[in-house]
Amino acid sequence: MLDEARRRKERGEDVIVAACQAGALAEVRTFLDQLETIPTLRTSLGEGLHMDAILRRKPQVCVIDPLAHNNPRGFQNAKRWEDIEQLLQNGISVLTAVNLLHIEELRERVEAITGKHTRESIPREFLARADEIVVVDAPTRVAMEHRDAAVAESASTRESRLTELREMALVLAAEVVDRQLERYLGTHGIAQTRAAQERILVCITPRSNGEAMIASGKRNQERFHGEFHVLYVRQSRVSAAERKRIKHFLDLAKEAGAQVQILEADDSVAAILEFARRMRITQIFVGHSRRGDWLSRLWRNPLDRLLRDAETMDLRIFPQ
């Protein structure tokens, strides 16, 4: 973050510091001392950004560290990320840093790993809206050198804990970058067929082995950190028992965290293909029965069509 601030300063941008970590290293201090600083406002309850002073000064770029911070009572906004939104709306660019454990939606998982509770958090959505995100990565063993003396634990526990957090941070960043990519492709009208992300589509029918397909879809989604869709193309002449079965599958899918879609179509293969292309699916899961199912009844037709027309996707066929 400070490197970026330095580069921008060197390029002649108007950079100021509005908040920095108290425990900063000496070399960081030396660097910060060269930049103009607007000190935070302190009250008996704590501190917060000096918003009026920053808005009056109106720099091009403002360094604010950390991002996750609760303002004490008496400040206009309860959270620092809200202050930052306000600065952005006023045309001030902000360079800021956040640790994984402060992402609201991940807090529970992170707390389960670290055993530490934090009160400062920012919504994941805020991160997703950032214009730029940069991952600050280091091999786990290097990060281990920065010991947290307050926590007594074995080296291997610590290494495994840090590794898990590191993976979460990388995946989170990848997801933010994926959204930026989608936005970019959208605004520039670019059709990029192959995605960096795995997107799994499970197609269920009343007779498919829905439980296994959804469980496998979920496991693949977790392993690939991908997207997970479950699709049902409504069929005519469905018995009450079959309807019940479909409802059961759809409930399972929702429970598994899938994005569930129900479509009406005469030609279910065409509907699957259209949906899969639109969602940039990389793996389609379909069921196959040795007797009686639509796939085998019209065997030559549907599976051959899927094989031929879903050529840029993996087709995973489940026995039922």
Binding site: I133, L181, R194, R219, H225
Partner: protein
Amino acid sequence: MMPADSQRAESTRGRLRIYLGYSPGVGKTFQMLRDAQDALRNGEDLVIGYFETHERQDTLAFAEGLEIIPRRQITYRDRAFEEMDTEAILRRKPQLCMVDEFAHTNVPGAERLKRWEDVQVLLEAGINVWTTLNVQHIESLNDVVQGITDVRVRETVPDWVVKQASEIQLVDVTPEALLNRLRRGAVYTGELAQKAVESFFRESNLRALRELAMREAAHEVEMRQHESQREESSTKIIAAEPAAGSAPDGQERILLLVSADPSAAMLVRRARRVADYLHCDCLALFVHHEKDFSELDAKEREEIERHLNFARNLRIEARILHGENVAQTVVEFARRNQVTQIFLSRGILPARSSPMGGKLIRNVIRLAHDMQIIVVASRRADRPEGTTHGRTESQPTA
């Protein structure tokens, strides 16, 4: 590498660290040299075995004070080339050696075909190595990268070599900043810079490759975690995820069916990748119904050997079997080997559109009713593929 191997080798073998990026110019070499300066201050005995400055001034500045092992000259077709002098590094025997551009292919006349093979030699000699790699050079991602960029990257590193690294560090920068660097000529100079921005370095490509690099880094981190946990709990019973109708975690096993069709290379890469993500074993099989493998057409035999060797290069056990009924032989082999997923390619038989191709897939599905069948994605056969030793440069490497 098997956990047992890694433990046994731990004491003598050097440790490998990979600086992973998504493009030339993201700052891998820069970061590596910066860390080297820190290591030097901590009293480590280190040398630069090979590094590519690309005349980048800021990078050059960071090499100051570091010992550089001179490159060796190799003459090929009357032209002088320079390669890393592995033997000189072995004689010098430092604790730590920086080797830029892990995926580089050596010029003919060098002892080894690939730079990653030189690095193996250094590691075996107990020297720690730091190296740089872009995500598009990882073998099993080759098709994904081509899908994104339309470029077939020829210089690749097998996944098991990357997996060997004890540390992976992602070097990240925003595409905006990278494009600025490119336009300023800080990565390539002159015409090459302009060409770069218009082709491989299109912003949409960079954004997608960046996402790919992040996901790859997360995957590499996760795999190491999984390996170390497996080592720790090898004596304990691991609780299996209950999943109706499919094998619990760790018990999946993949079989892929090789053919002479060029799509087999894609099949191998994809199966390797899925196996790595599911933490499971992967086997490759070719079945011929001629009595003897040597009865096959020479050209076909050569293609099949090539694909089987390609699989072996990616550490997939590969077999050749004879069987009158191909589908039945495949499924019986699968069942005998506790396979849970069979990977097939669309181009499984010579003419994909022929009813025979569909028939084999159909017969496998019919017989393997206790397994999942995966027919992997393919592209229209637009160009030959599967060569890992090609010398054609489809993109500038750095």
